[in-house]
Amino acid sequence: MDLAPPDRDPVRAEEGDDQDMAVFARDIDTVGAARRWLAAFLHRHQLPEAQRQDAELVISELVTNALRHGLGDVVVRTSLADGDLLQVSVTDSGPELPALQPVDVGRIGGIGLRIVDRLASEWGVAPFPGGKTVWAVIVSGSG
């Protein structure tokens, strides 16, 4: 079986030297599209392979959470500071704030955030009136 949807373009995208942003529509294919969008940034900055893989996993989890639990368009941002301090963030318009759950093998919810917690050197949630941003920092070799 071949699902092979056309790759989804962002609704809007802006590219800076050390930071990019893009807006994606709410769509099941947005997880892969955001991952490939981030991969282009990581490639441009020639970050180490392990850090790239971690970052692609983290953004997939954050976008997946925004699609499963959030509302509205999904805004993704990434920036690089000090050469290797990589930050990614995902903003949506939903009021529900993610929180780490106790480990319970077999429970279906909360797996994505546990992965983020393991891969990110720090992460957090910034609520604002009308939505929230979930951000994570992925340093080289933080895994």
Binding site: M1, V31, I111, G112
Partner: protein, 102 residues
């Protein structure tokens, strides 16, 4: 890119589902449905082995798919080959041992 799969029926009654590509939210539902139908076709008999050696990316949606399938099909559902990205995510989520992977 996004995951594709094929199914092999072995002489001993085992069904082998060979998956390649990326497993995320877009793949979870169709993949669970496919493995369900493979398991149903053998009507209670024969192992269903998921060969994930060609999976280049797997996130929590892939993990959810595996948990859901395991809950439905129990020990009939087994993991075959695992690529490095799959193994890593199963380790992080504590599922490598529960799934009986080595």
């Amino acid at each position: 890119m996004i995951a594709t799969w094929s199914v092999e029926q072995l002489a001993d009654g085992t069904s082998r589902v060979i998956v390649t590509g990326e497993v995320d939210l877009a793949v979870e539902e169709p993949f669970v449905a496919e493995v369900d139908s493979v398991a149903a076709a053998r009507d209670g008999g024969g192992a269903v082995v998921l060969d994930l050696g060609g999976v280049t990316f797997l996130d929590s949606s892939g993990v959810r798919a595996l948990i859901r399938l395991r809950q439905r099909h129990g020990e009939r559902l087994r993991l075959g080959e695992l690529s490095a990205p799959v193994r890593r995510v199963l380790e992080i989520t504590g599922l490598l041992q529960p799934f009986g992977a080595e």
